[in-house]
């Protein structure tokens, strides 16, 4: 693209113009705003609408879209990781857990190679490190295969920097056999404010005429016994997340050694205006 201010070339992966540092927008959002993406998604959406009409599900599809407009991004992590995240400004945690305990031994530091990198290179060329992955939810629960605690994010701080993708991008790249000569096809991503179209395009075939809104959460995020089986619309958020991004945390009833942590988690979330739900 050209920088809107100085006209210099700005690469797809760059957020700021290299010449005048003008903020040209988040790369993932710009990618979803490309003409071919919007057009391809629109075509899929229209096909989905036709399909729904044929199945007598037009009304349900409309209701589904309305519901998705209030959907949230949710990240699932273990209780330990969530507690650490929300304790980011606690002096004790800074001294002993984050600073010292940060052995910086992340999954990427092991010797195992990951297929994931292929999807990330294709979807987020040169800016993968900036992307945080979440799932779309209607009931605050996420893909708990990745962690017991579902952190639902507030919309306002991510609205302008989040995009949605058809499914788990790793599975998508495997399923579509993406690679250097097979790029990501258009029509499978959308900006945050058009997420209901993507959801409709993907999930219209899962709707029934007698379906009620209470069943929609299980349509948009279909849980399964194994992680591989969990299907969801993936959310890509550009940039770091802060504990103030969290609106609520949902988690299962705690076992013995978790009770203290859950209690304390509730207190800390309360301090930042977030809620804790135990189910």
């Amino acid at each position: 693209m050209k920088c809107p201010k100085c006209g210099h070339d700005v690469r797809d992966s760059e957020r700021f113009c290299p010449v005048d540092q003008y903020d040209c927008g988040f790369p993932n959002v710009r990618a979803a705003q490309k003409h071919e993406e919007i057009r391809a998604l629109e075509e899929r959406f229209q096909r989905a609408q036709e399909f729904a009409a044929g199945q007598g599900c037009s009304a349900v599809l409309n209701l589904f879209q309305d519901a998705v407009q209030s959907s949230q991004a949710v990240i699932c992590r273990s209780l330990s990781i969530v507690k650490n995240f929300v304790s980011s400004d606690n002096e004790l945690y800074a001294s002993f857990y984050q600073l010292v305990g940060m052995e910086a031994r992340r999954p990427e530091d092991t010797s195992t190679e990951y297929r994931r990198l292929v999807a990330d290179v294709l979807l987020f060329p040169y800016y993968f490190e900036q992307i945080r992955f979440a799932a779309l939810t209607l009931d605050g629960r996420g893909a708990t295969g990745w962690g017991d605690c579902s952190m639902a994010l507030r919309e306002a701080p991510i609205r302008d920097r989040a995009t949605v993708f058809e499914e788990n991008s790793l599975y998508f790249s495997e399923r579509m056999d993406l690679g250097v000569n097979r790029p990501v096809p258009p029509g499978y991503r959308a900006t945050w404010d058009r997420r209901e179209k993507l959801a409709a395009a993907k999930l219209a075939s899962f709707l029934r005429p007698d379906m009620t809104p209470a069943e929609f959460p299980q349509v948009i995020l279909r849980p399964a016994a194994t992680p591989r089986g969990e299907d969801f619309i993936e959310v890509h958020v550009y940039g770091p997340l802060h504990r103030l991004n969290v609106e609520r945390v949902a988690t299962r009833k705690p076992k013995k050694h978790d009770r203290a942590m859950i209690k304390e988690l509730g207190r800390i979330l309360g301090q930042v205006g977030a809620a804790l739900e135990i189910y």
Binding site: R77, S78, L79, S80, I81, K83, N84, F85, N90, E91, L92, Y93, S95, F96, Y97, V100, G101, M102, E103, A104, R105, R106, P107, E108, D109, T110, S111, T112, E113, Y114, R115, R116, A119, F133, W146, G147, N168, L170, E174, A225, T226, P227, R228, K255, K256, H257, D258, R259, A260, M261, K263, E264, R267
Partner: protein, 886 residues
Amino acid sequence: MKAIISGQAGAAVLIDEANISAVRYDSPERTPCTRGEIPYLLADATDVLEIDVATPDEAMAALNLAWHQDRCLHLILILLDGEADDEARRLAAESLEDLLAEPKVVEFVFDRLHATPLPTQSNLVGALLLAESARAQRLLGFLEKLGTDQPEITHLRQRWDLLPPELFGNPAAKQQFGRVAVLAGAFRRLAQAEPALRNNVLVSCLSDPNFRRLPNFQQILLAWAEPVRITPDLPALELEGEHDGAAGSREHDGSRWARRSASIFDNITRQKEAIRRLISEGDLRRCRRFIDDLVRYQGERSTSSELAMSLCDLAMHAKKVGAHGFQLELARRAVDILPTDGWALAQLGDACLRLGQYPEALASYETAAQFGQEEVARNGRAEVLKAQGQFPEALEEYERTIQAFPENVFARNGRAEVLKAQGRLPEALEEYERTIQAFPSDVFARTGRAEVLKAQGRLPEALEEYERTIQAFPSDVVARSGRAEVLKAQGRLPEALEEYERTIQASPSDVVARNGRAEVLKAQGRLPEALEEYERTIQASPSDVVARNGRAEVLKAQGRLPEALEEYERTIQAFPSDVFARTGRAEVLKAQGRLPEALKEYERTIQAFPENVVARSGRAEVLKAQGRLPEALEEYKRAIQAFLSDVFARSGRAEVLKAQARLPEALEEYERTIQAFPENVVARSGRAEVLKAQGRLPEALEEYDRIMQQFPYDLVASTGKAAIFVILGRYEQALDLLPVGLPATRDDWIGFHIRGMIHLKKGDVSDAIQLFERGVRECPWHTQTYYFRTALGAARLRQEEYREAIEAIQHDETPVCEVLRIHAFGAIGDRPRAKTALQRVEAHQMPVVIELREELARRYSLREPGVPRHSEEWITDRECDLLLAA
């Protein structure tokens, strides 16, 4: 088989040739997964380990251990967190007792907790108490060990931090080395090793492969652990854990007992430090929790007397930061613990005194005397009497104390202070000088002497005394702040600022210096900077009431009267016994023109604080503003009688006399005041104003020139001089003295008014009217809007818009307005009303009032038929002079 494990994620991935599966901590069932899913499973975990395992069970065991280690660390941090929920901490204590059964878990957590000392937020004492009540012996042992190790942890950490990054290559490499040192248990082992065994730890680290792969590891380890190396002639090293039988055990037990006692003392000390910090921050809710824990902990481990002393120490800190309510709470608690502790009773007396609870203070001091604290009690009693304004009784008490305890320097200084409060400054000075001679190392006597000299207006000598004191006691902040105050009183504001800034640099937490700096900035007219300084002080010391009042005053000076009022009201709520906030609030109400409310506030304050002269003078000022001049005069008379050394009551009285047009008496009062307080700029400006009102313009100019030479920042003098220039028609000279830009402060608005008068005198009447109307609309000071209204009235008269002139001044009943009314009513032919106005100023003695009164009476034949002697232009010109001179 390879296993990738994370205790944080509670998950592991098993990689066995072609098969990859995942397990979770709470479920042994293996689920297939792909390599690509590993980052999802372990996302955001920072403790990922890759190990070789023979069987899935081995992997599961490693995962369980990692999970327990991580969980234990979380729970320990919750238990130690002073902010954490009590129930959460209790649950943590229960869980930890189970988790700490595994030595590898203990080692893991200890390794991390030995990396750095516990931060001030932590409540180790509270954690110990919870462990005790949960009967969690392992946990108790763990915490006690952690407490015992704190001094050594601090020492090691300091040594580590001082190692230059260049030794490692760069800061990132130092950080990496540090992580390795923590994970290898180097911090823990060095902190916990007996001095004789530390060499073993060092040798072990030097041969540890984790260190050996790091550059320059030998030099780094030796530089870090160097001071704990033993000298060659000590006995052979023991291996860790060995001892040589009964004697060795006894010695070991003895040193263990000593270490345990030291540990208890350290825990108490640390808890008290945390409490002090919380008091300074104003976080009283958390403070009380820490205090409850301290009381329970220390109560079981030391005597009641020692516990009471701890609480008294904390009460003194609360006093130091101005948290007098909390000071009382702590002192009461100390007395509850040991009702026969004389020192605690004396502390209680002091706290009651600070809060104005005088009968309670006296009772406490009385009881303190009965329990062995006679000297302190006597001094305290004298202080109470002084605070109550019973100066003769206070003096007597101090004199009795001095007789009984001649070495009691506090009593001597106290006596001097009472004499100063009584206005008996020469005697106060004498007392301080005697004390200095007898106790040359007592700094209070020296600063006290300097203060008396300052009160006497002998500023150069006061400065000299402060400078001598600073030389003898360079770190005495009171002397430095005192010096700065004298410089400020002398108008040497840049030097005053410099002194405060030096003091702040040496003592960054000294609120007196910070507040002093803010005041100087305010005096220089640098109001935004003054506000910023006050706000910084309030943030650092929320219980400092002086900063709060200071902030309110700056807001008031900026014309932000509603915000100033709000600040005062908040301060009154938080500090109900603070008299400055109350008088400050009254002043703002007065500035807003809410005179009945201002009067009520002053009257309430006088009732609560009868010895406060500011409230009395303030009440007099409000009465004056309401036009109740005889009552105002009476109030000032009472104030002067009660407070001989108060310069403001005298100046205030002179102002009322001037308002009554009793100009010779007003001048006399100012001149007496100047003689007694030669450095007081208010009295000198007042004298210049009276001379101006008397038409003695050259003398008035001379006085203003003298003031401006000594006090170049004094805007009252510069605007006063400008007004005289306008009367004399020297408009350019007047403009040079006036503030430029949009008006914001009170002085800005005064300058704005004078600009309008220049327009009016030059005949630019529309410009003048525009300016005056703006002043009426926008000026936040009630007293200043009066000047704009009268000026508007005069401008309308000039335009021959007589009814508009009458309307502009319809609510004001001053002599100036009566003169304008004579003109307006006379011009429209309303002779009865013109006569009424004339009668009201018949006895007025101000020369320009007399001139105008007589001319207007002649012009409109208000007494007998008359012939005007001057032109209409002369009248309007003199009306302008009246406005500028009044």
